[in-house]
């Protein structure tokens, strides 16, 4: 009879951020092992709390399935002589497989006949192999961070303190780090007690009686429902960020939601500071009114029941109050500290030994920003704002608040700058120049912020590349990949008309003036372009373009990023049309021969065949409007235009012998093809398209 299987690994509190992946891995390992072991089952379900990872497998077969397998032996030539008698080799094979020679048979494989034996393995009882299999699964679990404890050699995420392993009502015996598997599980640390699990099917209800909600979804629902009820009752908006909910979910076994308050006077501290303090440091959910105004309350989840909730709330309030008192002190102190003094302090903070102080970096950012705005011919007002904002963009790094809450860099800068009477656009740019801060974050809204953000990121990339810090594998300590991706995103979002090579030259000039260039420029340029081409490729990949379309576009000039992206989109639509094969083939024939051309000068008098003249006329007539379309960013229409060339190209190649013995004719024909080809390649390298 099929029976359920329960495996529970009881541990000291597992880091919450590891739990979900860990229990998923446990489930995967068990399923894989059962399948490999030919043990049938119907379904699996995972359970996890801070102190346990558990999996229940339903309807596990009591016996392995039998295995019928065919084993290949020697070839027929070796196995039998002309009289059809078995050779020594064949008899030896039969013996080794434990079968009678009479049961051997032949089968063809790749045109050769071989002798085969059928082996029937009778499945053994599941319970006889569970101990070894399960204990291997448990000890081979992989966690992101492992430790040793006591005198044991096993490395594990946290010490194992109990194991429940049941097959039906039977214990699967095993021992790991002197913990003997049994049926005894543990309830809630403070509210419950030890409990003997009768059956896998009673696991959840028996634990619940000991104040443990082991079902992840059920526990989450309990938290969310309590938060919603509280919000409704108080007419609040409680902001539940998913990652914080996930963390809290794996910090408690028996969740009870409660709220606390702080003195309204602390609301004068910027909201971001209050929220960071509550969320990041205390794992509280912040509370807003219906107009999204922050209220002096917080919501937290206790690992326990409703007893003495007031004591718990008061304790939490006291901790938060101490933190907010500190924050308010920093906030007041910081405002008495002039921006110019802060800038002077930046000269004392080392950015990188070879790249100077943060003060040096800021000066480079200003020079690069000024050059970018000059290049973009922004108006005087913007130029002025760029200069000021780039000068003060890092001043908040030396404020006490940012020292205490590093994640508030930029946020505090904006707030303090506004208070100090700086232009609102300039103040905002201090915040914006860090954007996009993470993948999925938005670009700076203002052009001022966009320019400084590009300049800051370019300085990091060129500076690091110049002294040999180039990201490899998982090594990217200065987050240069994110910086480059950020630049690509900003250029696209603002449709900035700034080629990569111009950007590169601007930075190189600044670095040369400061004698900071430690690598040869040509080497730096190729590494720089390669680095950016990967980021651009990522954008194209995220657009779900075909890989051959991406390759076709990436083979062309990628200096103008918005153009690369538009061409990718256009080409994708273009190649997905029907009857595209002939067109692309005709382009490829043109491109192939065009590479043989040594000039692009066409002399009409050398045309001999009518198809030559027709192709020339068609191209000559199309060329200016093609360029017009490209200039107007209408890449798809340009491609559609090129389509018209297919018929004349095909006719051309049918009638004309390009590589004529007559040199004048040959060079003229190649020149015509070279001209057409250079128009095609402006959009993509069609050779890369898979037909």
């Amino acid at each position: 009879m099929n029976k359920d299987l329960l495996i529970e690994i009881g541990m000291e509190e597992i880091p919450s951020r590891f739990i979900r992946d860990a229990v998923n891995l446990l489930e995967k390992k068990i399923k894989e092992w059962l399948t490999e072991s030919r043990i049938e089952f119907s379904s699996t379900k995972i359970y996890a709390t801070p102190r346990r990872l558990a999996v229940i497998v339903n309807d596990v077969s009591p016996k392995q399935s039998d295995l019928r397998s065919e084993v290949k032996g020697p070839s027929k030539k070796i196995a039998q002589n002309d009289q059809g008698e078995w050779s020594k080799a064949a008899l030896g094979f039969a013996r080794s497989q434990g079968v009678e020679p009479s049961s051997l048979f032949f089968k063809e494989l790749n045109g050769v006949e071989y002798v085969y034996a059928v082996k029937n393995e009778i499945g053994i009882e599941t319970k006889n192999i569970l101990s070894e299999g399960i204990s291997k699964i448990i000890t081979s679990m992989v966690y992101p961070k492992n430790m040793r404890w006591g005198k044991y050699d096993l490395k594990y995420v946290r010490p194992i303190r109990w194991l429940v392993t049941l097959y039906g009502d039977q214990i699967i015996p095993m021992e790991i780090t002197e913990v003997h598997a049994g049926r005894k599980s543990r309830g809630h640390r403070f509210l419950g007690g030890d409990v003997n699990i009768n059956l896998p099917s009673t696991y959840i209800s028996q634990l619940k009686a000991e104040y443990v909600y082991a079902d992840i979804e059920e526990r989450q629902k309990l938290i969310v429902e309590q938060i919603e009820a509280l919000a409704q009752d108080k007419n609040w908006l409680i902001s539940v960020k998913e990652d914080l909910l996930e963390e809290v979910l794996f910090l408690v076994e028996y969740p009870t939601v409660l709220f606390g308050s702080f003195q309204p006077e602390y609301l004068e501290i910027p909201q971001e500071v209050l929220i960071t303090s509550m969320r990041e440091h205390q794992r509280y959910f912040p509370v807003f009114d219906k107009n999204k105004k922050l209220l002096p309350h917080f919501v937290t989840v206790r690992n326990g029941d409703k007893k003495s909730l007031d004591v718990v709330a008061r304790g939490n309030e006291k901790v938060l109050k101490a933190r907010l008192a500190d924050a308010r002190f920093f906030y007041q102190e910081d405002q008495n500290f002039p921006i110019e003094k802060a800038l002077a302090k930046l000269e004392k903070i080392v950015y990188h030994e070879e790249l100077g102080t943060v003060g040096d970096k800021v000066r480079r950012i200003r020079l690069i920003s000024d050059q970018i705005s000059k290049y973009l011919s922004t108006d005087d007002k913007v130029n002025e704002q760029v200069t000021r904002a780039s000068t003060i963009c890092k001043f908040d790094l030396v404020t006490q608040m940012v020292y205490e809450f590093p994640e508030l860099q930029g946020v505090m800068g904006e707030d303090y700058a506004l208070k100090a009477g700086e232009d609102p656009v300039v103040s905002r740019a201090i915040f914006e120049h860090y954007q996009p801060r993470f993948s999925g974050d938005s670009s700076p809204k203002s052009m001022v912020g966009a320019i400084i953000s590009i300049a800051d990121k370019m300085d990091s990339i060129i500076g690091c590349f110049s002294i040999g810090i180039i990201p490899t594998g998982s090594q990217d300590p200065y987050a240069l990949r994110r910086s480059a991706a950020g630049i690509v995103q900003i250029i696209l979002d603002h449709d900035i008309n700034l080629n990569l090579s111009n950007l590169f030259e601007i930075c190189i000039e600044v670095y040369e003036e400061n004698n900071l260039l430690k690598t040869e420029i040509s080497d730096l340029r190729s590494k720089f372009l390669e680095f950016f081409s990967l980021r651009i490729k990522n954008v194209l990949t995220d657009m779900n373009l075909r890989y051959d379309v991406i390759d076709a576009v990436m083979e062309t000039d990628i200096n103008n990023i918005p153009s690369v992206i538009r061409r990718g989109k256009a080409l994708m639509d273009f190649v997905e049309q029907s009857n595209i094969k002939l067109i692309i083939e005709s382009f490829n024939r043109v491109n192939n021969l065009a590479s043989k051309a040594d000039n692009k000068i066409i002399k009409q008098e050398y045309f001999e065949e009518i198809v030559e003249i027709e192709l020339f006329n068609m191209w000559e007539q199309m060329h200016p409007s093609l360029i017009e379309k490209l200039d107007a960013s209408l890449e798809f229409e340009a491609l559609e235009m090129l389509k018209q060339l297919q018929a004349p190209i095909t006719a051309f190649f049918e009638k004309v012998m390009v590589m004529s013995e007559n040199e004048k004719l040959r060079r003229n024909r190649l020149a015509l093809l070279a001209n057409i080809s250079s128009d095609i390649i402006k959009i993509a390298d069609f050779q890369k398209i898979v037909l």
């Binding site: 000291e12 509190e13 880091p15 919450s16 951020r17 801070p50 961070k145 430790m147 040793r148 404890w149 006591g150 005198k151 946290r158 010490p159 303190r161 002197e178 640390r189 403070f190 509210l191 910090l251 408690v252 205390q282 937290t300 206790r302 690992n303 326990g304 007893k307 003495s308 004591v311 718990v312 008061r314 304790g315 939490n316 006291k318 901790v319 938060l320 109050k321 101490a322 008192a325 500190d326 002190f329 004392k348 903070i349 080392v350 030994e353």
Partner: protein
Amino acid sequence: MNFQNMILTLQQFWSEQNCIIVQPYDVEKGAGTLNPMTFLRSIGPEPWNVAYVEPSRRPADGRYGENPNRLYQHHQYQVIMKPSPDNIQEIYLKSLKKLGIHAEDHDIRFVEDNWEHPALGAWGLGWEVWLDGMEITQFTYFQQVGGIDMNPVAVEITYGLERLASNIQDKENVFDLEWVKGVKYGDVFLQPEYEHSKYTFEISDTKMLFTLFNMYEEEAKKSLEQNLVFPAYDYVLKCSHTFNLLDARGAISVTERTGYITRVRNLSRLCASTYLQERERLGFPLLKDEGVSSNE
């Protein structure tokens, strides 16, 4: 419960868990972990169970006695058990109960916190223990000390006595805590808090401190050449405290900082390996002493 009774309760409790109770070590240090009873004794195969109060100096945290929560010097209660007992969490929770903290009336959680002390070449995994949202204890399974892998593994429990007391006595200002009836924490420590802060941030002689650092370092090296671990380690502690004073004064730039930390780390690594070597030479005496390892 007043501060003094908290200490007495913990002393009694851990004594009953077969810990030897030693007295605070007489060299300035930033944390109980730096006490040789922890740093050196947790190395090697010998069982070791110890508990003590450690007044810990953090010059940079000095606030002239004006901040209700930050102190130049605070008190840690430090426990080391090697090998770590299987029920160490339960033992710890029992100690809270002795202090009058009944778990069912509070929210007690073990929140992941991995401890690392670069200058000691030491790290471990564990938690900070939260009592109603306040961190009251650092709970760490040492994995490496002085660059040496732990075998067996020692567990370290560090209670922050002031924080614990502020919850137990329900006080918002550390200086209002009751040390014993009629004597407040501030009565004993407010003046030194002010004076040490003023000295650290305004008066200390930077030039002299740099000289001292170099002298201490030399003396540590000299002692190590003679395999005299304990005297050498005392000078490492002095280096560490001198560095902390200079750092708090803002006298050490970011680049120099790494250099000083490396110097202290190299010395403490050498102390650790020399200690292990010396204990081995002595035949690891505590391995035979059933009295100390009676929890085995």
